[in-house]
Structure formats: C-alpha cells, structure tokens
Amino acid sequence: MPEIINSIDSTEKTGPVIHVTTSPHILEKGAGTRRTMLDVIIALIPVMAASVYLFRSYAVKQIVICTLSCLSAEVIFIRMRGKSITINDFSAAVTGIILALSLPPSMPWFVGVIAGFAAIGLGKIIYGGLGMNIFNPAMVGRAFVIIAFTGILGADAYSNLSGVADAVSGATPLTALKYSGIHTALSNMFWGNIPGSLGETSVIASVIGGLYLIYRKAASLEIPACIIATIAIIAGLVDLSCGHSGIFFYHHLFGGATMFGAFFIATDPVTSPLTFKGKLCFAVGVGFLTMIMRMYSGYPESFMFAILLMNAVTPLINRWFIPTPFGGK
C-alpha cells in the first residue's frame, strides 16, 4: 500500500498543477481513517479509565481479550482475502475496545473471543472491510453473544463479581427499576458507581470522551444530542403521566447505555446516515426504539439493539434524504 501512495504522490508532483478530485476533499493535513480512529481511542481513554477504576481486573481482562481477538480476527480474515494487512489504521482496535466496554463485566474468556471474531468477521470483513459494513461491527459482536449465551450474559454476569466495590455488583439500575422497583441514586449514576456493562456506567466519563470526539469532528453533534433529547422527552412524558416524580426520567436518561451508546456507538460514520435530516431521523429512531424496548421487551439493556435496527434502516434513510446538489432544482 505505501508504494501505491508514493507513486500517486510522485505523479501529483510532476503532473499538471490543476487536478480534479472527487469528494471527500480532505483539506486538513494528516486527516484520514488513522487519525479519526486515534481520536476515538483518545476519547475512549476516560471511559476505559473509569471502567478500570470501577471494575478493576474485570475491565482490564475484558478490554485485552476483546481487543486482541478483534485484531487477530482482522489479521486472519484479511490474510484469507489475500489483501495487505490494514491493522495499523486502528479501526479493529476501536471495535475491540467498544465491544469490551459494551459487555457485562464478568464472563468467560471465550465469549469475548467469539464476540471479537463475530464483530470483525460477520460485521465487517464479510462486506468487504472498513467503510462497506452495514451494521456497526461492535454491535454485531455484542448482539451475537447476547443471543447465543443468554444464560452466561444474563443477570449473573452483572452481579457475581468479587474484588470490586459492592456498589458495582448487582442488578443494573434499569433492570432493578423495572422488575423490583428499586431505584439508584442520581449521583451514583453520574459518577458510574453502579452495576452495568463495563463502559456504560459512568455518565461523566462518556460525556467527556464524547465532547472530545465532537470537538475533533470525529463524531457529529446531531446524533448524540438528538438521541438524548428523544429519550429525555419520552422518559419525561412517561414519568409525568405516571407520577414517578423524576426517578423514571433520570434512570432512562443516565442509566443503561444511553450516554456511552449515543456518543460512541451511534455516531459511527459508516453505519449512520450522511445528511443532517437523515441523522435526525436516525437519532429519533434510535431513541424511540430504545424506549419502546426498554419498557415493553424482555431486554431492558436494549440500546444496542435499537442501534442495530436503525443501522438496517440507514440505507432507506439515505434514499429518502438525498441532498440537492449546489445549483440543483
């Protein structure tokens, strides 16, 4: 690959001064997949730090297993296709980290390995690699193991922890609220001192990372803002009409994967729509489906499924909102 780039560079140097290129016109120097993925990893640092602080060895183990399995899956599958290795663009590492952070803390090592291989193999390589995938690879991996290992990844995976603070071991806030009516303090949800998947518990860490992503333009502001607004509106209306005095509202706004998912998973540029209106449509869909499934389906932690479903709708949304070209009618 470097040889090709070098040869392109040399023709550009010797070729005519005016040359026509198709979009995207990358003006900023050093921008590209590698830089964007590095930005995502930097943005994930506060989330990883929070999860390592809260879940100790569980978080370290899980992040290492999932990242390694994603990287090795990428190497193996790319080799099988006879292409040059693209591992140094960090995209597989990002998939691995997000996958690890979206899974429950305690699970056998092989579940992480299977999730990583499903994410990279079924989620990405099978469609032709980065940029061609239809579903978010990390969410394909997660959904695959959640459905395949329902027993292992059920309530026990959140509550059978040892060597961590008692506060982070138990039923997740949304499950506890839905099935036993126990509610969690708002401040604990804010700092992340609650049971849940590794990366989703700490609201403050997700928001710091997410704002960095938006500042670096690696993620668009519309999608997270609109998802959070949709969830806030629906949860607020339900709360008001049923008289839960705010508890239902803040559980759904800060609990589950709302913040982590809105900033890090829904903003994946490959699997979300391209235009402004399309992004709004996508984000409202994610928020709406999340609330519907949280309230009525058997999976209270269903943010990830809502993203997968809206990934399936993304090609349609892109069809509906084709932008008018400059000077077009």
Partner: protein, 191 residues
C-alpha cells in the same frame, strides 16, 4: 381495541413472519434486489393475504368444521390461494403491466409462498375470530413488507461493497437477513 393493537404489533415486529418465523424466504431473497420490485411484491402479498385470510377463515369455519372435513384443510387452502393468485395476476397484467413484468416469475410464486399459507394456518391454529383474522392477515404481510423493503435497501447498498467472491449475491444476502433477524430478536418478550 387495545387487544387488536397488541396483535398488530406482535404480528409486525415480535413474530415477524420473515425474521422471527422464517417463512416466505424465497421471495425475500428473490425480489429484494431492487426497491421497486420489493414494494410491488409487498403490496401484492398484502392484497392476496387479506383476501386469502378472510376466505380461508370462512371456509374453515363454515364448511370444513361443520362437515368434519378438517383433514382437507391443507388441500383446500392451497386451492383458494392458487386461484386468488391467478386472479391477482390477471388484474395486474391488465392494469399495471410495468409492475407485472417487474415481478415476473415471483407473482405466480406467491401460490407457493409459505408465508401466505402459513398465515392462513396460523389464523386457524390460534383460533382467531373473524376480526382478529383480518388484523393478522393484514399485519403479518405488512411486517413481511417492512422486512422486505428494509432488506432491499440493504442489498442495494451491498451492491456497492467489495464483497468476497464466494459470498456474493445470495450468500451475503442471507448473512444480512440473519443479522436483521438478530436485531429483531430484541422485540422478544413484547406483547
């Protein structure tokens, strides 16, 4: 009223005929390469199934059951569906020739579309009353149409992807369908 609404939700999402019950996969793979044929197929199935559901329900309750002829259920249902499809085919050929030629072989294939037969049999098996039969005969194919249209969008996008050679076309289509089914699993436990 609420019961009918729940039944509709369950038929469209929770027990989606394609993605949760895996019926009617041949037209799902066959006509989903282009959006126009997909929407055409979806409307044709809705049209046929509402008629077929109502007629087979009446047949089962007023002829087969009173005369103890339930062992003829499969045979008579096939007959009703086949003649209905021929009727729809004649109608489309005369009034919308473009759609007729677009659907091509797949319109006669509704005759053997297991989704149509399946819904008719589900209606009887679940002992729906006539109104419930109408609701389910409309919402099952609506769910079929929803999945088909979403899937056609996906396949149009897959066309642009550099899919590995052994997996092109139907194979990658089936993988995509499996993933949609995985996403629809999240509705389990609803309604």
């Amino acid at each position: 009223m609420g019961d009918y609404f729940l039944l509709a939700i369950s038929c469209i999402f929770v027990n989606n005929i394609l993605l949760a019950q895996y019926l009617g996969n041949c037209p799902f793979l066959g006509v989903s390469k282009k959006m126009e044929t997909a929407t055409g197929m979806a409307t044709a199935v809705i049209f046929v199934l509402v008629l077929a559901g109502a007629i087979t329900w009446a047949l089962s309750h007023y002829i087969l059951k009173p005369f103890d002829l339930e062992y003829l259920q499969t045979l008579s249902f096939i007959l009703v569906i086949a003649s209905l499809v021929s009727f729809v085919e004649l109608f489309l050929k005369k009034s919308i020739p473009a759609l007729y030629s677009g659907l091509g072989i797949f319109l006669p294939l509704i005759t053997t579309n297991c989704a149509v037969m399946g819904v008719c049999l589900i209606n009887i098996k679940e002992e729906y009353n006539f109104l419930e039969t109408l609701v389910s005969s409309f919402t099952y194919p609506a769910g079929f149409g929803l999945a088909l249209v979403l899937y056609a969008g996906l396949r149009e996008r897959i066309l642009l992807a550099r899919v590995p050679k052994p997996l092109q076309d139907t194979a990658i289509g089936l993988v995509g369908a499996g993933m949609m089914s995985l996403a629809f699993m999240a509705f389990k436990g609803m309604a």
